[in-house]
Amino acid sequence: MSLASAVISKVNSALTTVKATDRVVCKRLLSRGGGDPLIGRVGSVVVTDTVLNPQPAVFRQPVEITTSQTSRSSVSTYSIIASPDSLSESDLSNKDIILVFKNNAGTLLEEVFINSFVPYVIDGTVVGWKITARSVVRG
């Protein structure tokens, strides 16, 4: 096993053991079709959710509180440490992939857009990602 593979294995193990998130984090692929995209009238939007495995470590940095008639929401930015086994560079570069947070029952809690991603590299191989993301839709 190469050094990078060994480190990725350790990263996966650590993320699974620590489980530093109380959400179920998924990547969501958005497929828009039909309508008139120029003016933002899309005919249909199909979403495909894939649960990240291992789950990443998620750190919330609240920036604003908003309220609805029934609850308060924390508008946040997120720092996320993820394994390259759960998110590839093509996933992170894909402008139609976002991250979504769900509870254990599968209820959608939040949608976040990926702002930036930085690789941790060992021996020429990505062994982890540091991702910053921003809250866009709050449940």
């Binding site: 958005l30 828009r32 309508g35 008139d36 120029l38 003016i39 933002g40 009238r41 899309v42 939007v45 402008k95 139609d96 992939i97 976002i98 949608e111 857009f113 990926i114 866009v136 839709v137």
Partner: protein, 140 residues
């Protein structure tokens, strides 16, 4: 049915995209189903709608037009295409795009073609020209 201000935005975007077919028009808007919609696009004409004001006769919607290219010569040529387009007329029919087939509203979307100015915005990353164009229309 859309408000007239929504029709003004849709009409202006189509006026640009339908007349400048070799140019990528990127409308910047917040869209939960389109992560890159509110980001600046390179090698494109970015259009963002900013302030709006309403009057009993004429209302105004500001359009911020940002021309961003990695190649300066292409940016300048695109600015010239926009300027020529805005000089070719001073209005376009205001259409309602609630359905896929636009419906005429019987009024026009207008701009002051003598007031089209493109200002260079310094950037070390790309060539950037910006123009703030007030669009006039009847809101009622």
């Amino acid at each position: 049915v859309d408000s007239r201000v929504q029709s003004a935005r849709d009409t202006f975007l189509h006026f640009l995209a339908d007349n400048l077919t070799s140019v990528t028009i990127h409308p910047r808007r917040r869209d939960a189903n389109d992560p890159s919609a509110d980001e600046l696009a390179e090698n494109a004409v970015n259009v963002e709608f900013t302030g709006v004001s309403f009057g009993p006769d004429i209302s105004e919607q500001q359009a911020a037009i940002d021309v961003i290219y990695t190649d300066e010569r292409t940016a300048v040529d695109t600015v010239a295409q926009l300027w020529n387009l805005f000089q070719s007329a001073y209005y376009t029919p205001l259409l309602n795009y609630t359905t896929l087939t636009p419906v005429a509203t019987g009024t026009n979307l207008m701009w002051d073609k003598t007031a089209v100015r493109f200002r260079r915005v310094y950037s070390g990353d790309y060539t950037h020209y910006t123009c703030l164009l007030p669009l006039k229309f009847r809101a009622v």
